[in-house]
Each structure stands twice: as structure tokens, then as C-alpha cells.
Symmetry: C2
């Protein structure tokens, strides 16, 4: 027999408050929503009743009456890579579901590595257009200031994937990229079977997430794997073709290359190179983001491990955070922690 002795008989409602406080529903509502035009004494009376009854507002009913619709906007880079594509697909998917939930999602793509484009979108936004916005972009002074202005307008802002701490964004939705880089290094160090050199492929100097991963990776390699030497990394700018074109020289220059850490986007270029080149079969490759392409590379043995973040979780978390921030609701931080996923052939979905 379940032990359900302690459930309250009836959740108190606004009517209960009105009755106990001896005022009208309208007045209770005014106090509840901090609307003007109520005497101090009355406010206190109502608040006492609220406290006494342990009242907690029924958001569903409130939203129904208010006919509230949350308008959220996602700003993403137009880079056509699979990770961003997955993010977009998840946003579209959530969009369909959230309509039943009084929430509309919009998406706008801006040129990658172009801070001004983001600034413009942000500055054109009025509170009537959006209750909240998720920004996936570089941390530059202009972006930082635009985010500050956006929040000042009363629009909630979360940083997506790449953090914007200097902007005082409301929340960051993404992984700890330093830890992700450290994780990649640990896997690399343990998977490689001999001494040798490691190549790191980075993305953009502007992208905070890329820099952090690099930092974490280097730290662990130095601390824990002195037998492995990280050679100067190449900056692939998330461009598969560029990456593919740079690799032959690198592999020629370092015959003892025994590991590759692809820390940013552009995996297809790396995959194409490895597929078409005779290479030592014990080369260890660790990359980021589970996508159709990287998953195939994992299954075929080209990639040994993938560090990832769940795009579905990112999107759902951003939505919850934006809505909660928009109406000052509490947040379940344990649910919003984005995990640093490690995928091997065996546990890839």
C-alpha cells in the first residue's frame, strides 16, 4: 500500500486567498502580479493570506487566462555543418511540439564568424517580437554589448554551445568545453599504444568553445602523457575542404603521427582524407559531435571515439531556460546540465 498520507487536501487558489484576506479576486491578482494601485495595508493583508495558505500559482491556468504565447528566437551560424544542421532539425521538431504548449520558435541564420550580423539581429529585436533569444556565436565585444542591450530591453538571453560569460547572459546552455578537451586527451592518451605525435585540428580563433577545448586537451596531454607530443595544430576554420587540403603535408612532415584530435567542425574533410589514404591502422582519432557522418566514421573504425553534446537536450534546455527566465520561474539545474557524452562504437545510438 503506497504511503500517501502527506498530500495536502486541496491546493489553495486565488479564491481562497481572496476569502481569507477579505478582498476581491481582482485585488489578489494585482498583488500577485505586482500591479500598481493597491494600498500598502491591503498588499500586506493579501501577502499574509498567501503565506498562510502556502499558495503556489497554477501556471497552466494563468497562461490559459492570459492567452500567453512565448515567442523564442534562435540565432545560429549559417555554417552548413552537420552539428548545426542537427540543431536546426531539433529546433524545427520542438517547434511543432511547442505549439501545443503556447510557445513559438523562430530561427534566424547569420553569417558565421560575423559578429555584426548577430548584433544587428539582436538590436532589431523588440520585446514584442521575442520573450527570449538563444545565441550561438562568437564572444566579441560587440556581441557582448548587444546581448547586454537585449537583456536591458527585457528579453531573456541564453548563450548556446559557446559561452558568452562577459555578456552577463542569463544562462549558458552547453558543455564545459575545457573538460571536454580534457576528456578527449584522456581517451587519446589511453587509446594510443606507443610514443608519437598528436595533431590537433582547431576551428576559429574567435570561437570560445574551440579555444577552451584546446586548452583542456593540452593540459591533460602535458600532465599525464609525456610520451606523446602535441605538434602545432592546424586551424581548419570548420572548413572540410580546407582541412582535407592541409592534411597531406602534415602527415608527410610527421611520420610518427599516432593520433588526431578534431576539436571543431569540418570532420568530413578529415574523414575523406583518412578514407583515401593508406595510413597506419592504429592511428587514434578522437572527434567532436555525433552526426550521421561522424557516426559512420565511428562504425567503420576511422574514428575511435566521439565527444558529443546532445542537440535535442540543448534545444529543450534552452527553451525551458528562456521560458523560466521570461517569467521569473525557478530552474531545475540538474535537468539543465548538458553532459559531455563519450561515444564509442558500442554505445552510439
Amino acid at each position: 500500500m503506497p504511503d500517501d498520507a502527506h498530500h495536502a487536501t486541496q491546493k489553495p487558489t486565488v479564491n481562497d486567498i481572496a476569502r481569507v484576506a477579505g478582498v476581491s479576486l481582482a485585488t489578489v491578482d494585482r498583488v500577485l502580479n505586482a500591479r500598481p494601485g493597491v494600498r500598502r495595508v491591503t498588499i500586506d493583508k493579501v501577502n499574509e493570506a498567501i503565506a498562510e495558505l502556502g499558495y503556489i500559482r497554477d501556471t497552466a491556468a494563468a497562461n490559459l487566462a492570459r492567452r500567453r504565447v512565448y515567442k523564442l528566437l534562435f540565432i545560429l551560424p549559417t555554417t552548413g555543418n552537420e552539428f548545426v544542421a542537427a540543431l536546426q532539425a531539433d529546433i524545427v521538431a520542438q517547434s511543432a511540439k511547442q505549439i501545443h504548449n503556447r510557445t513559438t520558435l523562430d530561427m534566424v541564420s547569420v553569417a558565421p564568424f560575423d559578429p555584426q550580423a548577430i548584433v544587428q539581429v539582436l538590436d532589431n529585436l523588440s520585446p514584442a517580437d521575442a520573450d527570449g533569444v538563444a545565441v550561438f556565436g562568437p564572444e566579441t565585444p560587440s556581441v557582448r554589448d548587444a546581448v547586454k542591450r537585449t537583456r536591458a530591453k527585457g528579453i531573456a538571453v541564453v548563450a548556446l554551445v559557446s559561452d558568452l560569460p562577459s555578456s552577463d547572459r542569463d544562462h549558458f546552455v552547453g558543455i564545459d568545453n575545457i573538460a571536454a578537451g580534457r576528456t578527449a586527451a584522456q581517451l587519446m592518451g589511453r587509446f594510443v599504444r606507443e610514443q608519437g605525435r598528436i595533431l590537433v585540428i582547431t576551428g576559429s580563433r574567435l570561437a570560445r568553445d574551440h579555444l577552451e577545448r584546446r586548452k583542456g586537451f593540452d593540459a591533460v596531454m602535458t600532465e599525464s602523457f609525456p610520451g606523446l607530443d602535441v605538434v602545432a595544430s592546424i586551424e581548419g576554420r570548420d572548413d572540410p575542404d580546407l582541412i582535407q587540403s592541409m592534411l597531406p603535408d602534415i602527415f608527410d612532415a610527421y611520420p610518427d603521427l599516432c593520433g588526431v584530435y578534431s576539436s571543431a567542425a569540418g570532420n568530413p574533410g578529415l574523414i575523406r582524407y583518412l578514407e583515401n589514404t593508406a595510413r597506419r591502422k592504429d592511428l587514434v582519432v578522437v572527434a567532436h559531435e555525433l552526426t550521421p557522418g561522424s557516426r559512420a566514421a565511428l562504425q567503420s573504425g576511422i574514428f575511435d571515439a566521439i565527444i558529443s553534446q546532445d542537440t535535442g537536450h540543448l534545444v529543450r534546455s534552452a527553451i525551458r531556460l528562456l521560458k523560466a527566465t521570461a517569467d521569473g520561474a525557478p530552474i531545475d539545474h540538474t535537468q539543465e546540465r548538458i553532459r559531455i557524452d563519450i561515444y564509442l562504437q558500442e554505445n552510439a545510438p
Copy 2:
């Protein structure tokens, strides 16, 4: 400027249906909820209107009017291990939050490895007591039949952590344990640096999850790591003390033991043994479930990797699934997939 051209002007409501179909609200409701007492022609008329308008019911409003309260029950084993404790803590935490959500959570603990205890709880349950129940227990014929009877009573049932496929439960909330075992084997094989023997610690012969992990582990060890030999496993019955007492003999018998896979509960026993015994420092240990104890072992280097499933996710998923099943709502499967988490020192939260 966001491209929000395509948002429907107004979501259709029951009133719209009533108008279009030329019937009253009450009749629309009867059809919507498959209530009796409506002529066939009328039903068709209403359904046409519904289809034409693309109506989708507003669950929040419906629940408000219905004053519906979802009553859910979790049945857990009383084993005092940290994993179950984490599950319980998450249930309590969710319980507090779900009250605001017209959902009450109850929890009942039954003797572990005791099918009859579960059967009794299930059989004593009436639809008035619970809309849904999550069962974490062994897959025995009696449990299977009890689950079937429970569903026949109109109560939704999900299997938690350990699947009960033969019972036709509505859903399984947990990881693919065969894949989890395979993942553990892959990590083990790649982390171990030489030839040698591997010890597997299992739990109970009744627990389907334990059996599946063992199966997956053995398969990959055989396929991919012929240099490693899995010695006869020990059945720890999730009992730390028992495990601790069995280990000395094992380690004495196999001096070339280079890896331990702790596939069930009882980690504290293993940890205590390893802490207090001089052992080869390159012994590789892979265990299950991230808990305070196993996390500490990971950080101190006693454990090399932990395969885990997020208890918070398990609980939230079970709740969503049970509610959705209870009112025949659609399910977002991508959100309900429980991931096989791999934790190393570097990415443990």
C-alpha cells in the same frame, strides 16, 4: 528579422469544432473523449470538422477543467545501494516539483529479489490509487503476470532500469544493457596494456539487466580482445561485504588479473578491497553507475571508467511516459532515450 510567416492565425478550439459541425460543445466533448450516447452520423460530422480544422486538444485546459491529478507510483527494491538511493532522491525531488503540475508521486520499497512482494503491491492497486506505476524488479513469471493484470485494470506500467519485455509493459525506461556491457568491454580492452585475465563481478541471476551486461561484455571480449581472458565471474548479489570477502581468493588464484568489470551493484566492497590491498597499479577497473562512492573512486584512480545512466533522466522520463500513456498522448522518443553514459575522471560532473 525572424521569419515567422507561417504561424497559424489561431489554434482551433472546441468551439470552432462545434460551430463547423453544427452541434453543441457537449457533443463535441463526447466525441472527443469517446463517450457513449452519440449517433453515428453525428460522430462522423464532428470528426470531419476536427480533421478539417486540424484540431489538437489543449491538455492544460482539459486538465484544469477535469481537475485531473496524475497519481504515479514507483516500486523500488529496498537495497540500500547508492544507485537506488539516488533514484529515490530524484523521485522525492521530482515529487516536490510535480505537485505544481497536477501530479503526485508515491514510492514503495519491496524486498529485493522478492518477486512476490512486487506482485502483492501490484495486485492491491486499483485505478483509483494510481494512474501509472514504474516497476524496478526482476523478470519472473509471477511479476510478468502481475504486470499484465495491472495493465488490464487500466493502469499504465513502465519497467524501470531492468526491462520486463515478456510482461508487455507499456514502455521500458533504461539503457540497452547489452550495449552497456559491450561498451564496458571495449573500454576494458583498450585500457588494458597487456595480456592477462579479466574478472567480472555480477549481481543476481534474476536481474535481467545484469545478465544482459554480462552477455554484451563477453561478446566483445571474445570478438575483439583475444589476448584477454575472462575468468569465471563471481556473483556478488549486490552485496558489498560478500564481494569484499570473495576477492582475496580470486586475486590470489589469478596473479595475472589485469582488469575487473563490476557489472552490478556492490561497488563499495570492491573499492574497500582495492584501497586496502597492494595491487598492480595498472589494474583496469570499469564499474557501473556514477554515485558519490564510485565518483570518488574514479577521482582517486581506483576506477578507470564508469558506465552510467542518469537517474534524474530515468525518473523524469518514467513520469512523462506514464502520464502520456495514461491519457493516450503521443511520445517524443528522442527525449526518452536513456543514454549509456561513459564517465572518466575528466568528464564526471
